[in-house]
């Protein structure tokens, strides 16, 4: 009787892992599209010094406000600067800000979230602080943070990062709280498992999937917020050709030179879209349950 009891019914159909590459492509085509667009945009931005046909900053008044033609594929701005070159360099700002904000807010949110989820005493205080931060619209908080010191890309990153943290904290805390309730974790605590091991063995692996998804969405949102801040004139210093800055300058001439708003706008939309598609794909892939929720 024992020999049949041990028969695993599913042994024969263990099948390929859901992480197999071809399967991912087949099941999540949007992720492929998003990933490819993002990678292309990233590579092109990184190679901007080699790809850009002109200097993105040098003024050239003779060729000001030229519509797209064979010399200037995407036209020029009010100072005669090549739009294509400015957009290529602008992509670097968006990527840098987006990636940094995603990384910093995720790491800080993870730290605070683990502490809040694990230590009852800290939880009450930290979560009140997070509730308060969430009550301030992110862009307003970022704008306020931008005013207290001289503008630079670093300050932009900090200003966008802070409002993103509370949501990561909530996510991580929720996972930690639910993990603490699991019998196997309670057992681990009961036999004296130390906190760092608990973190490594139980908390991090369970937080990773939703955290990666969240980080992707933060990435997309940060790219947008950077452009919004620059557009409003309170973001990246105006001498740096970020997409928001390019649009902010171009808006003055939108009636006679629509390309000044259209092209950077499309570049921005394309990048944000590709990241969001990637995020949706990752969400479906890493946590099928999440895909139904968010």
């Amino acid at each position: 009787m024992t020999d049949i009891a041990a028969l695993p019914a599913d042994a024969a159909v263990a099948g390929p892992s859901r992480f197999a590459f071809s399967r991912i492509l087949r099941r999540h085509p949007t992720m492929l599209v998003g990933g490819v667009i993002l990678v292309v945009m990233a590579v092109v931005s990184l190679l901007a010094p080699w790809l850009a046909p002109y200097d993105p900053i040098e003024l050239n008044v003779v060729d000001r406000l030229r519509p797209p033609d064979e010399d200037y594929l995407l036209g020029t701005d009010a100072y005669g600067r090549d739009m294509l070159s400015r957009l290529l360099y602008g992509g670097r700002v968006s990527l840098a800000v987006g990636l940094c904000v995603a990384a910093f807010s995720t790491v800080l949110g993870l730290l605070i979230g683990v502490v809040a989820g694990y230590y009852r005493l800290a939880d009450a205080l930290l979560m009140r602080v997070m509730d308060g931060l969430m009550a301030i619209p992110g862009i307003l908080l970022a704008i306020a943070l931008m005013t207290v010191t001289r503008a630079s890309i670093e300050v932009v990153i900090v200003a966008i990062t802070i409002p993103e943290i509370p949501r990561v904290v909530r996510l991580v805390r929720a996972v930690v709280l639910s993990i603490r309730e699991q019998t196997y974790v309670q057992a681990a605590v009961a036999i004296g498992t130390r906190f760092p091991r608990l973190l490594r063995k139980h908390i991090l692996p369970n937080t990773l999937a939703p955290l990666v998804v969240q980080a992707t969405y933060i990435f997309a949102h940060a790219v947008l917020v950077e452009a919004y801040l620059s557009f409003l004139g309170v973001g990246t210093p105006p001498e740096i050709p970020s997409w928001g800055n390019v649009i902010a300058e171009g808006r003055l001439y939108v009636q006679i030179a629509f390309w000044q708003v259209l092209f950077p706008g499309i570049a921005l939309a394309l990048m944000v879209l590709s990241i969001n598609l990637l995020g949706d794909g990752l969400r479906d892939l890493l946590d099928p349950r999440l895909s139904r929720r968010a």
């Binding site: 704008i143 306020a144 207290v148 708003v261 706008g265 968010a294």
Partner: protein
Amino acid sequence: MWVYVIRRILAVIPVMAVVAVVVFLILHLSPEDPAAIIAGDNAKSEDIDAIRQRLGLDRPLLIQFLEWVGRLLTGDLGSSIFLNRPVLQLIGERVEPTAALAVTTTIFSVVLAIPLGVVAAWKAGTWIDQLIMGLAVLAFSFPVFLIGYGLVYGLALEWELLPVQGFVSLSEDPGRFLAHLVLPTIALGLVYTALLARMTRATMLEILNEDYIRTARAKGLANGRVLIVHALKNAAVPIVTTVGVGIALLIGGVVVTESVFAIPGVGRLTIDAVLQRDYPVIQGVILAVAGVYVLINLAIDLTYTVLDPRIRY
């Protein structure tokens, strides 16, 4: 129920306290001398000293904070450094366009997003669902100003259908008031619609898998009845919650939209204040906005008692 209501109301206090501390600290934790930043790059040292004194920046931090909070509790949000007028008054003058835009956008988005989300969930996996969700992720990713300038360029400039920008007060001319709000509402509303539609779909999908939906279908009810009475009614709480939380996002979008359409609202007030480093105005706006946000979400929490009978007792 009253326990729930009172608990919710009391929960507002710590949140606003944290907001006040954050708003206060932003200026004071700056690595640079706040008085110098406010005074601007070309200020003389006497000007900086004057500002420091006027804002009380030379006194101990705790005293400053307590005095500031004391004034806040009497409803005094401080005065603008440049305009030399009470912040509350400045906000009051600018609040109509901002509130109007926020309200029209919320209505527009809710009316559009909920049916779309419900249909997408009902037709999950079909081309209808994919189309709606595809449009949603697109709208979700498009910057407000791209949609805004697109609308301005297409509808307002080319066809002269609608006013390009600006704002007309409701008391002045209701027709033109609405006409001026159409384009900003669409530009801002599409993003918010996308967010809500995604959320509605996700919630509905989860609810459509519930046992009581199967029961409703086993009763032989029509699809509409199953979707609206049985599913949507249960989805109301999460959807309304998203509307409330989304207001934070909406207000951020309002600032940008006001800029695109040259609407003289609170967003413009804020940006002007930032460019002039008029810190009391910035602090006042953030406090007021956060206060409104917290109150709206309190109101939403209280509607749960109507939407979900389980909370009532």
